[in-house]
Amino acid sequence: MHEMSLVEALLESLLPICEENRWKRVERVFLRIGTLRQVIPEALVFCFETAAVGTPFAGAKLEIQDVPIRQKCGRCGVEWGGEIPLGRCGACGSIEVETISGIELEIESLEVAVDDDEKS
């Protein structure tokens, strides 16, 4: 259950941006989360709703995009995806395997409410 830590970190990094830009209300937060990060979306949403009370994020919706695991062989260059990460290339047997996606924990964008005259 590390979702609360993630939410705390998320708000810690976003609240100063809100203040700087004078955004009073955020409608949606778009996240990209890799399958490998073992995040339970429902737990993340629950923690977010709880922690967001009293901030510009109160009532905002978390839009979580799951990023599947992709790996690449460092020797023969073959790429593949799967439910769990592999330690060996299925094509050439090399252990020089790189995980190229599926480990993201990224804030992609925000949808913020703005006064019509402020819109830019």
């Binding site: 990094s13 769990i84 924990l105 409410a113 703005v114």
Partner: protein, 220 residues
Amino acid sequence: MTTKRVSVFKSVLAADEQYAQTIRKEMVEREILVLNLIGSPGAGKTSLLEETLKRCRFRSAVVEGDIATARDAERIASCGVPVIQINTRGGCHLEANLVLKAMRSLPLENVDVVFIENVGNLVCPAEFDLGEDYKVAVCSSAEGSDKPLKYPHLFHECGAVVLTKKDLFPHVRFDRDLFWSDVQGLNGKASRFEVNNLSGEGIEGWIEQVEKWLSLKRRS
């Protein structure tokens, strides 16, 4: 009132990743190897450390992470090694900001290796970078042979897997071949060890691995 979409493209853990980078940079300058030991409660992490500290030829310090009590730190201190206990008060993992603070209060000028013993948990600790050189998965035979595939992130990422309680193999129906073939399937690079923390069997091989990592760090 209308809405607008603004790009952020920032890691959720950006602040903590900065702390981890600070630890990494300082430890490179000091040529200190940092290992992050991760395993379930009762896997034998503290016992593995005790046996290691009794026998090793390098100078160590330990950062102990637990939800509560200083019991592990007391065990480590009785080995004559500097130790700092972090109590997370409910937190299921250590984070780099806490570890950085702890490390700065250790007498690092006389240390070759810092062992961080994470909070007992196979899931969350794998998600947080502590500025370590390697994560080490510690798993006991009593937990069952299915743990690597059930908790793939840790076993995929770690630099070594230490299987403890090898003396219990005959009593707990542990499928040793399955365990190691799953580990290899997830991670072809991890070094693999089997130890008995009670008798000290197998500890020497693990210590040699730590020495190998230490000399690699000093050469780089």
